[in-house]
């Protein structure tokens, strides 16, 4: 994204440090910029390596959501950052529809930082259990030992049913095999890994 940016208004600033290119992108234009980065010939960042977030000790500084992109064909990396002011709503657009790998990565950022990803199909906690009520553990305002007393934490943890999120069919591998698509079942039967199918357009 040069000065004549193909996504107008997206580029905030750009730094190159330690051989890595870091680009700050405006929050509202994130999805357009990401789409451009993925689909433009010559860019082709087809692999989302990681999504994470940073909160700084300086409470004035905004939170940063960081996207690590890699182009497998061009063997190039880029790092995209979006700044989220703490006084504002902590929300960005989800890139799930560009890279399916963003599913669990964004869920983890939501779980640990409380950042909402708009448009994510299944945004719920992934590391902590879903009824976890103490807040977002990696925020600077979160006390190291949690907000509740140890007894209360033990009580809440023990009252979680670890199987509550699964149907009986999901708990049984033999029965779940019936739910797989035919071609996948066929490949499993033949012991063949097969190719990863194209995502439905």
């Amino acid at each position: 994204m040069t000065a004549s940016s193909p996504v107008p208004g997206a580029l905030r600033s750009e730094i190159a440090r330690d051989g890595a290119t870091i680009v700050f992108v405006a929050r509202d234009r994130l999805l357009e910029a990401m789409t451009w980065l993925k689909e433009t010939p010559g860019e082709e960042f087809d692999y989302l390596v990681d999504v994470t977030a940073v909160e700084f000790r300086d409470r004035e500084r905004p939170l940063e959501v960081v996207y690590f992109l890699r182009s497998l064909t061009r063997r190039a990396d880029i790092r995209i950052k979006v700044e989220l002011s703490t006084s504002d709503e902590l929300a960005v657009d989800s890139v799930y529809h560009l890279w399916r790998g963003a599913d669990w990565l964004e869920r983890e950022v939501f779980d640990m930082f409380g950042i909402t990803f708009r448009g994510h199909p299944d945004l719920r906690r992934i590391l902590m259990w879903e009824t976890y009520a103490e807040g977002y553990p990696l925020r600077k305002s979160f006390p190291l030992r949690g907000r509740f007393s140890r007894a209360e934490q033990v009580r809440q943890a023990l009252n979680v049913n670890p199987e509550a999120n699964y149907s009986l069919e999901e708990l049984s591998i033999a029965e779940a095999a019936g739910d797989l698509p035919d071609d996948m079942r066929d490949r499993l039967r033949r012991g063949e890994r097969g190719v990863i199918p194209e995502p439905p357009q």
Partner: protein, 206 residues
């Protein structure tokens, strides 16, 4: 001998020496069988599990002490060995595994983290698995060497050999969960979860 001394007079009659000797004999036979064929249920969550595997493997080989078969099903296990730190998310899991084990059952807490929370004095970690399940032997170390775990297993043998088949109290389902779903009173959990030593200087912030 203990049972001879403890045998009470029944309705004015003298203690029945033969019955007591017989009970001792049965206890000896049963306890020796139990102690020398302990089937462990490994619950390995961290680096302690690596030492546990070393203990199970040929160099240290706890099969020498009767733990020939590792039971990966709690229904066929005698001793639950929690090797590694236990996060809160696994607390209901280990509780259910413990509940699924048939009596008689024992628990070994292997390593500093399983016993006390260790260095993980944070929001995600259970501060000692004894807040979740009753523990028979604590093995200290970070992680304990295989000799340490073997010593803990031998201590458990000693404990088992001191039990009595005729003392039903020992084998009651020990402290089931109360109506709140806790094994211990909340004050006790808070107390044993508090850090000790130098780390009392860390305060619960904000």
């Amino acid at each position: 001998m203990k049972h001879v001394a403890e045998t009470k007079e029944v309705s004015g009659q003298s203690p029945n020496y033969l019955v007591a000797k017989f009970q001792d004999l049965v206890d000896w036979a049963v306890n020796s069988s139990r102690a020398n064929s302990l089937w462990p249920m490994p619950f390995g969550t961290a680096c302690c599990a690596i030492e546990f595997m070393a203990t199970a493997a040929s160099r240290f080989d706890f099969a020498r002490f009767g733990m020939e078969r590792q039971a990966f099903s709690p229904r066929q296990a005698d001793v639950l060995i929690c090797a590694g730190r236990l996060p809160f998310k696994l607390a209901p899991v280990i509780r259910r595994i413990y509940d699924q084990m048939p009596q008689p059952k024992w628990v070994i807490s292997m390593g500093a983290c399983a016993s006390t929370g260790g260095v993980f004095d944070n929001y995600a970690m259970v501060q000692g698995i004894d807040t979740i399940v009753p523990v028979d032997v604590y093995v200290p170390g970070c992680p304990p060497r295989p000799e340490g775990l073997l010593y803990g297993i031998l201590l458990l043998h000693k404990k088992i050999k001191g039990e009595s088949l005729f003392d039903a109290v020992k084998r009651r389902e020990e402290l089931p969960l109360d109506d709140k779903g806790l094994r211990l009173p909340p004050e006790t959990i808070d107390e044993i979860s508090e850090p000790f030593g130098n780390s009392v200087h860390q305060f619960r912030s904000s």
